[in-house]
């Protein structure tokens, strides 16, 4: 961006926390699940009761290694867990088991729109519980009381720390979105930001374009969606440039993104500055994955989003935007591929999937895996459109019904008598009847300028379609209408 005294460049690094999709928590056998009654998924270990001890869940390590193999990370021979000490009521032990100086993964990279973003490290740590402040506006300092739900305490997290390689809010969003797709494709995380299984902190600084010196960085917390990430980074970049332009300087601090106000605000220094007194966690032994284990994990890697997008574009002849939308949700891409496997052409399937089906998934929040219309049902719908049985608008209605209840498209067509009419004699009679009924409009069409003709034709076409109760084949109707108006 440009200030009054010349161009500036934003330098952005992201810390992305993802909850790992394990069956049980990181150090105990409690279920790793979202949405249960408060404090029902707990045991002495994840409650940090005196005498309890952590035992590392092997699945946590395997998921991290899988992620590492996919993004070209180096896996050090050993990594260790440390204790991060600070008092907070949502932390049962008043320390968090995390990796500090020796993380499990170092030096990875992710390609985002042709640019390579370096990833400094990814490390494992346990999640905290959740505090609900009751009364007084929901903030800790004026709440009447605070309740803690420890169901989330001990859920495994991976923190993925990028290098400061990102240069704009858009690029930051693209990076997270690609990272999300990768994590989902690998089955490493559910990456549901709304359930808190993916959380982002951003480190933002600005400098004169062309400079190689880093500016003072500010950490931004509390961004709950890709949209708020983009807004927060944009706001912060502008704020810093304005500060520098006004002859001021940026203070190194942690700022809180205020979603409603659309601004970043300094956090209370007490919350922001801690001496965590890290030291090696004596209750756990160093983590040293064997070569066999690494080999096993690497051998089982699924296709990554970038490769999948390229393949779908090639095989289905679809554009990058559609490929990105499809692959952005693994469930949707899997669904589409299954429909194609059932015989439907890729382009048509992609069209339905990125349109009506995606909207339906977004509105209802369900996964494509549980849609009442199975992928071969979508293939059936595509075939009904392809052979002219259904018009596109009618097909939409049929799809809507099939997404509401478990019915096959053919069944809906039969029940509602929806099959498209293409019979020229039948449709010709209807067109004639409409033109007779609207003689004045026909006159206006014939004597009008281009604009009027276009409008009148649209009206007449609509009336024809209405007269067939939407079942008339639009191509045939259109041709018959034009023949008669000519």
């Amino acid at each position: 961006m440009t200030g009054g005294s010349g161009p500036y460049e934003a330098v952005i690094g992201l810390e992305v926390h993802v909850e790992l999709a394990t069956v049980t928590k990181m150090f105990c056998g409690c279920p790793n699940a979202f949405g249960a009654e408060p404090n029902t998924l707990v045991c002495p270990t994840c409650l940090g009761l005196p005498g309890s001890l952590p035992v590392l869940n092997r699945a946590v390590v395997d998921l991290a290694l899988r992620f590492g193999a996919a993004l070209g990370f180096r896996v050090p021979e050993t990594s260790i867990f440390a204790r991060k000490n600070y008092f907070y009521p949502d932390m049962p032990k008043d320390y968090q088991i995390s990796q500090y100086e020796e993380p499990i993964l170092v030096d990875g990279r992710l390609e985002v729109d042709g640019a390579v973003v370096g990833i400094e490290r990814a490390h494992l740590e346990e999640d905290t519980g959740k505090i609900i402040h009751v009364g007084g506006g929901g903030r800790i300092h004026d709440a009447a009381c605070s309740l803690v739900d420890y169901n989330r305490a001990g859920v495994p997290l991976m923190e993925i720390v990028s290098r400061p390689d990102l240069r704009s809010a858009d690029q930051a969003r693209a990076y997270v979105s690609e990272l999300r797709a990768v994590l989902e494709a690998l089955g490493v995380s559910d990456v549901k930001m709304e359930e808190g299984s993916l959380r982002i902190d951003a480190n933002v600084s600005v400098r004169r374009a062309g400079s190689t010196v880093l500016g003072t960085k500010v950490e931004i917390k509390n961004m709950n969606s890709l949209r708020s990430l983009g807004r927060a980074v944009d706001h912060e970049v502008h704020r810093q440039v304005a500060l520098l332009e006004a002859g001021g300087s940026v203070t190194q601090e942690t700022r809180h993104w205020d979603e409603e106000g659309g601004v970043t605000q300094p956090m209370r220094t007490k919350e922001a500055s801690h001496d965590y007194r890290y030291f090696p966690e004596p209750d756990l032994v160093p983590l040293a994955p064997t070569p066999e284990r690494l080999g096993r994990v690497t051998a089982a890697l699924p296709e990554l989003p970038a490769a999948r997008r390229a393949r779908l574009r090639r095989e289905w002849g679809i554009g990058e935007a559609d490929a990105r939308t499809l692959v952005g949700r693994r469930d949707l891409a899997d669904y589409a591929e299954a429909a194609v496997a059932a015989g439907a052409p890729g382009a048509a399937v992609a069209n339905w999937c990125t349109g009506e089906i995606l909207s339906h998934l977004n509105e209802t929040g369900v996964s494509a895996e549980v849609l009442p219309l199975a992928p071969d049902g979508l293939a059936e719908l595509v075939a009904l459109v392809g052979d002219g049985t259904l018009s596109r608008p009618l097909a939409k209605d049929v799809l809507a019904e099939c997404l509401r209840e478990p019915k096959r498209p053919r069944q809906v067509v039969a029940e509602r008598g929806l099959a498209q009419v293409s019979d020229e004699e039948e449709l010709g009679a209807i067109v004639d009847e409409v033109l007779t009924r609207h003689a004045a409009e026909v006159e206006a069409y014939r004597g009008g300028d281009d604009k009027t003709r276009k409008r009148k034709r649209g009206f007449l076409m609509g009336e024809c379609m209405r007269a067939t109760r939407g079942r008339g084949n639009p191509q045939v109707l259109s041709r018959l209408l034009d023949e008669r108006l000519a």
């Binding site: 409650l47 940090g48 009761l49 005498g51 001890l53 032990k93 007194r277």
Partner: protein
């Protein structure tokens, strides 16, 4: 003064010679008559013990074997979690807390047929060497009630020495099993780190803590250790695999063979000649060594140079870990809470009211040692000393099978005599700390009487997982002791 031992009780209950109920009643009666003076128990679970004894008798009656510790009354240091039974760590901060689970060692004792009779006193959170740091009052030494029993497992050692129970479990972070055993004239074992599961032991210093038995004989200690040791998947630092039994020909439950012929033994020079070691203690070590030599061992002097710095390293590492382990006592979830307008203030007031002075001192010391800017100079350096000490031991074990040293530098001291002198109190553990830092096993065995006719202990140290040879040496010392 002392009643029947572990082996004797288990044998008579198993063969129906005596009922477990009878054994328990006898011990409960001893506790009732003697413990008001000693204060070794914080809680006696008489009803649960009777019920458990009846279960054992029922098993025997139906021809079933209740296990190697059938009907043996056992006392548990009150930092071992017991389901539904208060576990206080002798601290106000845990008053009223009842664990929802049993420690692994408690589960295993029950499985072996033992009958827990109560929880014993300790220095608060096992921090101390005299059991005077208990929030619920001190324990007295049964051999001279004006003296301390040592600590921090003073309640367990006193209870065994007074014959209130044949066996008690303690925990040993810097000598807390061996030193009180020595001061009370009984046997105390600290196993190899990881040999006995720490699951359910309320942590003081996690990299040093280890649970061990206190008994009146070496054979009894072996029986008790065999009941509680072995791999536990709930403790990530637990040693994998099954330990070699301690009896003759590798049999479990059998008496430990008194065989040391051909073994090479080194007396740790630095610990035996150090200033502050009482003449009787020094003499006990050399006399015991002579007895071992007489039994066929080869004895020489061994050098463990960094043993001199072990105490300083320990008083950085242990408090550092403790400062973190004890953070969870914040008034939020269990135990004491002193209310205040803000969470931070509630945390602070709760901890100020709940912890005693020694615990606070160590939390502050440990917090400081881990602080940014001081970490390398304190915690980091202490860990380097630990590494060097382990190298010293490795070198020594290249020449020797076991090492010998004093357990406590002195005999039991009078109550109150060291409470105002922190360094003198800390010095009580100088000879025991090196084994904790190295993670090696060690045992204290009584060797006659010293100053004021009070018991003296001799310590046998062995390399990691060297319990079998260590017990054989201990057995010879026990048989030769005056």
């Amino acid at each position: 003064m002392s009643g029947p031992g572990v082996a004797e009780i288990a044998a008579s209950v198993r063969n129906g010679g005596r009922t477990a109920r009878d054994v328990v009643e006898e011990h409960l009666a001893r506790i009732a008559s003697r413990d008001p003076e000693l204060g070794s128990f914080l809680c006696v679970t008489a009803e649960a013990a009777r019920a458990r004894a009846d279960e054992i008798d029922d098993l025997v009656g139906r021809g079933r074997d209740p296990g190697p510790l059938a009907g043996v009354p056992v006392a548990l240091k009150d930092n071992l979690c017991t389901r539904g039974v208060p576990t206080t760590c002798a601290s106000r901060i845990l008053e009223g807390w009842r664990p929802p689970y049993d420690a692994t060692v408690v589960e295993r004792l029950l499985l072996a047929g033992a009958v827990p009779v109560g929880k014993t006193n300790l220095d608060e959170f096992a921090m101390g060497s005299s059991t005077e740091n208990s929030a619920f009052g001190p324990t007295r030494n049964p051999l001279d009630p004006s003296r301390v029993p040592g600590g921090s497992s003073g309640g367990s050692a006193a209870a065994v020495a007074a014959g209130l129970v044949p066996v008690a479990l303690g925990s040993d972070t810097g000598g807390s099993v061996r030193q009180p055993a020595s001061l009370c004239g009984v046997v105390g074992v600290k196993p190899t780190y990881g040999r006995v599961s720490r699951f359910g032991l309320v942590a003081f210093a996690s990299s040093l803590d280890q649970i061990g038995p206190i008994t009146r004989t070496v054979d009894d200690a072996a029986l008790a250790l065999e009941a509680i040791w072995g791999h536990d998947p709930r403790d990530a630092t637990s040693v994998p695999g099954r330990p070699e039994p301690l009896g003759a020909d590798g049999e479990p439950g059998g008496p430990v063979p008194a065989e040391v012929a051909g073994l090479r033994m080194g007396i740790i020079e630095e610990l035996t000649t150090m200033e502050g070691v009482a003449p009787s203690v020094r003499r006990a070590v050399t006399d015991a060594a002579a007895a071992l030599e007489h039994a066929g061992a080869k004895v020489d002097t061994a050098a463990v140079p960094h043993a001199r710095h072990a105490l300083s390293a320990y008083y950085l590492i242990a408090p550092a870990e403790a400062s973190s382990n004890l953070a969870r006592y914040d008034g939020v979830r269990y135990g004491l809470r002193v209310d205040a307008p803000s969470t931070e203030e509630m945390n602070a007031r709760t901890r100020a009211a709940g912890f005693g002075p020694e615990v606070k001192r160590r939390i502050m010391l440990g917090t400081y040692a881990l602080s940014a800017g001081y970490y390398d100079a304190y915690y980091g350096r202490a860990q380097r000393v630990r590494t060097l000490l382990i190298r010293d031991f490795d070198a020594a074990y290249g020449c020797f099978d076991v090492l010998l040293a004093p357990t406590s530098p002195t005999v039991a001291f009078p109550l109150g005599s060291r409470t105002d002198d922190v360094l003198a109190m800390y010095g009580s553990d100088r000879c025991t700390i090196p084994s904790n830092l190295a993670g090696h096993p060690a045992v204290s065995v009584p060797w006659g009487r010293g100053e004021d006719d009070l018991p003296v202990g001799v310590q046998v140290l062995a390399p990691a997982l060297g319990e079998a040879v260590m017990f054989r040496v201990a057995k010879v010392i026990e048989e030769a002791a005056p």
